[in-house]
């Protein structure tokens, strides 16, 4: 698979994997219900410790991003359109946290909050196009 993992980054490798896989799904590069490589295949491809990959897969499964079907493999879950419940609530909290961090960072670098908001709107506006690029492939 085409995950980019940097062993030198201070972000743990399993976290990098989680981020990468989530990004691929969000951008549509990984369609719902598509099959992910096995731990063995992925470890061998990326030359990464299999336990690291297992950890990332476990975390992704716990978050409901992927599911493991015994004897068949690992698959991307269906999209969670407006999903409710505890998982959704915590996921929302997580997103809010990240946005807060963005605001703090913007403050320190000296970017007005209005500009941040505009940047975000531009990104959101361009999103369908971004997804489309991947699903065309």
């Amino acid at each position: 698979m085409w995950l980019r993992i940097d062993s030198r980054s201070s972000t743990p490798m399993y976290q990098q994997m989680i981020d990468e896989i989530k990004a691929r799904i969000a951008k549509g590069a990984l369609a719902p219900q598509s099959r992910l490589p096995s731990i063995r295949e992925l470890a061998s491809d990326l030359m990464i410790n299999p336990n690291t990959i297992a950890k990332a897969y476990q975390e992704l499964e716990r978050e409901g991003v992927i599911e493991v079907i015994r004897g068949r493999g690992t698959f991307v879950c269906r999209e969670q359109e407006g999903a409710g419940g505890a998982v959704a609530a915590s996921a929302r909290a997580q997103v809010r946290d990240m946005l807060t961090r963005v605001l703090v960072e913007a403050h320190h670098v000296g970017i007005p909050l209005a500009d941040v908001s505009r940047e975000l709107e531009v990104l959101i506006a361009g999103w369908p196009e971004e997804r489309g690029r991947y699903s065309d492939e």
């Binding site: 980054s9 201070s10 061998s44 410790n49």
Partner: protein
């Protein structure tokens, strides 16, 4: 997870030289355990003791639950060993070595052996003496993996290999680990180790000077670059976890071995003019540890 390799105060003395001293470590099932250190740091002697080739002069070691000094060495039925030394019989051809392996290891897997031989395209009739370095390592891996090992002990198995063979071998190691084989490997390839190892022990002069998990190391190790025009506060210099401080003018590089967040917080409290947190990879950490142990002069190491 059970413990596959356990050593307690393991040591080996050759005359007056203490090649290995007081090594206590545990390798758990299915993990990849890296051993790094300078040449002559005792890595090979340590691995040789795990195989029962060298008799420990102090301490104990157990591999797969069996004492390494067990006279019959039955535990070696489940141990695959690869080294950059030529562990072959001089007069034997590739086929002879395989024939010997099939008769020697009771768990030998012929199908696996054929697959590996085919994938490496090893010439069966060539004498092992005439094989290239890469081919010899490949053959050693064919043997070590065909015996269906529970532990792989690798002593610089990838050193001196070209990029293609090296990648092939590393992939094999990772695949084996993914199927539950425990790997203990000594290597100089720190960048590779950083990706594949669960835990790493740094050897220096026969002792383990640092033992850490790769994840932990990522979290805990950092280089904090700070500018203090009035000099670095002493509290930072002596803070727990600080491995070394490099100075150039009023710019200080604080190398943190553990608890990087706490040290960073401490830095912030002292109000530096400028502060940046940078990653430290194994190679850099290794050099700093060696320097701290007085291995070589600083300007030489960090030139």
């Amino acid at each position: 997870m059970s413990e596959i390799v356990v050593t307690e105060g393991l040591g080996k003395q050759y005359g007056r030289v203490r090649a290995v001293q007081d090594v206590t470590l545990t390798v758990s099932e299915g993990s990849i355990f890296g051993i790094v250190g300078t040449n002559g740091a005792g890595k090979s002697t340590f691995l040789s003791m795990l195989l029962g080739l060298t008799r420990p002069s102090e301490g104990r070691a157990r591999v797969l639950g069996s004492d390494v000094m067990d006279r019959f060495g039955t535990y070696r039925e489940r141990v695959g060993f690869v080294t950059d030394q030529d562990y072959f019989f001089r007069q034997f051809s590739v086929r002879d070595m395989i024939a010997w392996g099939r008769r020697t290891w009771p768990r030998w897997d012929d199908v696996r052996c054929r697959q590996l031989l085919a994938s490496f395209e090893l010439p069966a009739n060539r004498p092992v003496r005439s094989l290239s370095k890469g081919m010899r390592v490949q053959l050693a891996f064919v043997s070590a993996l065909s015996l269906r090992p529970e532990v792989l002990i690798l002593d610089e198995a990838t050193s001196g290999l070209d990029a293609v063979v090296k990648r092939q071998i590393l992939q094999l190691i990772v695949q084996e680990a993914a199927s539950g084989v425990t790997v203990v490997m000594a290597t100089h390839d720190l960048a590779g180790l950083e990706r594949i190892a669960d835990r790493v022990a740094f050897f220096h002069e026969g002792r383990v000077v640092l033992q850490t998990s790769t994840e932990e190391a990522k979290r805990e190790m950092r280089r904090i670059q700070v500018v203090f025009p009035g000099g670095l506060p002493d509290a930072l210099r002596t803070a727990p976890g600080v491995l070394r401080v490099e100075e150039s003018g009023s710019v200080y590089n604080v190398i943190v071995e553990t608890e990087a967040d706490k040290v960073a917080e401490l830095c912030r409290q002292h109000g530096p003019v400028y502060m940046e947190e940078l990653e430290v990879d194994f190679e850099e950490l290794f050099v700093h540890i060696m320097h701290k142990e007085g291995y070589a002069r600083e300007e030489f190491l960090l030139a």
